[in-house]
Symmetry: C2
Subunit: 464 residues, 2 copies
């Protein structure tokens, strides 16, 4: 029982750190939103400072106790699941918003700050935190950084990576590194900040971050467009992308629309129903911009790329239109969806989606597919919905077979098997569809540099 020895040593060395070992807590903090692995944590520890995290890591090294970092537990790849007796390090108590650097439009936050709290802080300063996605009310900044979270505004503002001007991390050896110090320009050797972003806690744990805030967008305006086929979706991205500075370009199919409307989560945008829908957004900085948008709309409609459409005239209508897209995940969750989160170059999207539809239709004619995603980033969410006549286990087993076919197609187009959800445990068996064996070998060697005893989130991304 290495975990027990570790916990005894911890309670002696740092009695001020709360520890939970009751069954409810072990279940609650032992898992994330994925349901593929049963949680089996030994304990949950709740440090308050970077120094306490470093002390925990050093003790864990002494006792050979693996640690799992735990943020908002909204992950979709089992990156924060403790399934093998690990001790969970929760960042729930490290949720302070620290110094605000007004001239730099930058704020220091602890890893446990919830995304929405950061968004609200930014608003209180008349600024904007540009990363946003469905789980922003629960997800924590540390977890966002661990998976380099994306979301719905990437086309304009980039991934979480683009917002991180500095990081404080505790490596697997227990060293505290303060990386980049918030500077926009710093050419002094290897930028380890970017190595820790997206490393899913396998090299070390992020304890603080310096976050870049943006100016608030002005007069955001959305269009929802009914579109006859997927190639038209890509053509619309090209035409609107050239004419406007888009802040979002999302798509979803009629299956998603059906489910969202049936659940009463949003109102129909217009009377027509079409195979696909686009939700695009831009800053209407002037009437000129609105005229440009309307001109593109009319040309696209004449060319048959758009069958129907609507543009928001108020903030209220903007939010109504966004509900069509934002409520998809929650709506389809009752259908036990098997989720894939893939990306390919935009240039390959049309052929890629046609290939996938053929594969699923040929092999699984009774599966209903729901497509949505961030087309402006080449990022597709493929959701396979469970037929009523299959048990959950049978369904997931069949989906594993689909996976291989889908990932073969991702590989054919040199795409990514995980665009923004990370690898964790669910995508670990498929890592070599996107990364070469040489890359994976270098990953393992770099892991050994920062975490020689394999303490930090062991068994995530790859096995060493």
């Amino acid at each position: 029982m290495t975990a027990q020895n570790f916990l005894t040593a911890l309670s002696q060395a740092l009695p001020e750190i709360p520890v939970k070992t009751d069954a409810d807590s072990l279940d609650n903090w032992g898992k994330d939103w994925t349901k593929h692995f049963a949680p089996d944590a030994s304990a949950i520890v709740f440090p308050k400072t970077t120094e306490e995290v470093a002390a925990i890591v050093k003790l864990a090294n002494e006792h050979g106790t693996p640690l799992v970092p735990s943020g908002g537990r909204t992950g979709l790849s089992a990156g924060a699941v403790a399934a093998h007796g690990e001790v969970v390090v929760s960042f729930d108590r490290m949720n302070a918003i620290g110094t605000f650097y007004e001239a730099d439009r930058m704020v220091e936050v602890e890893a446990g700050v919830v995304t929405k709290a950061l968004q609200e802080f930014a608003e209180s300063k008349d600024l904007y935190y540009a990363v946003d996605f469905a789980s922003s009310g629960s997800s924590q900044i540390g977890g966002n950084i661990g998976t380099n979270a994306g979301g719905i505004k990437v086309i304009r503002y980039g991934m979480t990576r683009n917002q991180i001007l500095g990081l404080t991390v505790v490596t697997g050896k227990g060293d505290i590194l303060e990386l980049n110090g918030g500077m926009l320009k710093n050419a002094t050797g290897y930028d380890f900040r970017h190595l820790f972003i997206g490393a899913e806690g396998t090299l070390g744990f992020v304890t603080k971050a310096l976050i870049k805030l943006e100016k608030q967008p002005v007069n955001l305006t959305a269009m929802v467009l009914g579109v006859p086929d997927f190639n038209s979706v890509v053509a619309l991205l090209d035409r609107f992308g050239k004419a406007l500075n888009l802040t979002a370009f999302e798509f979803f199919d009629n299956v998603a629309m059906d489910k969202v409307l049936a659940a009463g989560h949003a109102k129909p945008p217009f009377d027509s129903r079409t195979p696909f829908y686009v939700l695009l957004e831009f800053e209407a900085l002037s009437d000129d911009v609105l005229d440009v948008a309307m001109g593109v709309f009319e040309n696209c409609a004449e060319d048959g790329l758009i069958e129907d459409g609507v543009m928001s005239q108020s903030v209220g209508q903007l939010h109504e239109l966004w509900k069509l897209r934002e409520s998809i995940s929650e709506t389809i969750s009752v259908f036990t969806p098997y989720k894939n989160d893939v990306s390919v170059l935009i240039s390959h999207l049309g052929n890629f989606i046609a290939d996938i539809e053929t594969i699923v239709k040929e092999n699984y004619p009774d599966f209903e597919i729901c497509w949505f995603g961030h087309i402006g980033d080449g990022n597709l969410h493929l959701n396979i919905l469970k037929p009523d006549n299959l048990s959950k286990d049978e369904f997931f087993a069949k989906c594993q077979t689909v996976n291989t076919l889908v990932f073969d197609t991702v590989k054919k187009y040199k795409g990514s098997i995980s665009a923004e959800h990370g690898v964790g445990m669910t995508k670990k068996p498929y890592l070599d569809y996107t990364r070469s064996q040489a890359e994976i070998d270098y990953m393992k060697a770099v892991k050994a540099v920062f975490d020689p005893n394999n303490i930090m989130n062991r068994g995530k991304i790859f096995d060493v």
Copy 2:
């Protein structure tokens, strides 16, 4: 003579790779723009493909022959100087612009493509390559990536790092890695692309890159402002930065203005002379934007932040105003400047520059200082001009002492001793002013993973 054995083996294995060993070539390709180290290369080799680079690296490992990468040789930190008998790997023959991915606004280029050629290619596609600086006519993309080059448009578009969607590299072990494949979203483990960017060729050599292109900016408009003191420069950044989407915010002092005008490299922007000048630029998307800019200008003038100013009314005037800023480096080069390229948070700029001026005035009252830089990025170029009564050697020796005082001040404000020029050999002794000993130790360990025999740009950034 390991280099001789290496060259013999290379000529046998790969006779198609040109090799130069004449004295002029050894001098030409053996150095960059820094003059602190005498070039002493053993040979220059000119591969044409990534596979040839990999073969060269593998042979160099067999013979223990260190290699120095060589691009446009415009570096300012001796990062591409072969001062210890190394074999230089020139990328001059790897200068092809490859596949253009229109829908992704992305192009693949070889490492030897000159920055300006990429800018011109982008223009030919009605797009824009956003990294620009004084040496864009000579610098090569591979070198830009090695130092994560910055320049005059960082405030809007970010560093070179932000434009790189994929990299092909040859590691120090001779492995070819294709990193990230051009995707905007790819959460499949460690993003080694970002580890190689800014690594100055010490982990491996970049052979190709997938580059993101931007939409062309519209109706760029510049203002040059005469400013009474440095704190007003920072205040103007705040006011104009809030009101406009700036594409540049540069500053220079009256010493720079004096030299540029005396050399006839630009015309006076207005009659007044002031201690500092700001050059700011924005897209005048509409008359509204011009009205906003003029409103801010008038308010700032009323508040005493601006003493005089001018706004460009045409593309010709825009280029005229930029000459004031862009010709500084060339103009002052005749004064044998000792260059420092530092950055601190914008929040600290005012105190930092006051501290530095005090230090130099107190210790070196006979030194003339010329300040300019990218204030919008917290990046200051401090140039100390050689007094006539000092020899070059005496002057450089004294500047080394100034360095320590300057870097102590950088450290006090947690800044960077090299914002965009890299470390190379000139900043190597000072690396620990910005990076902790733990970070430097991890850098060495990561270097050992990718380049275990210390073949790749040995002795740059740090000694192993």
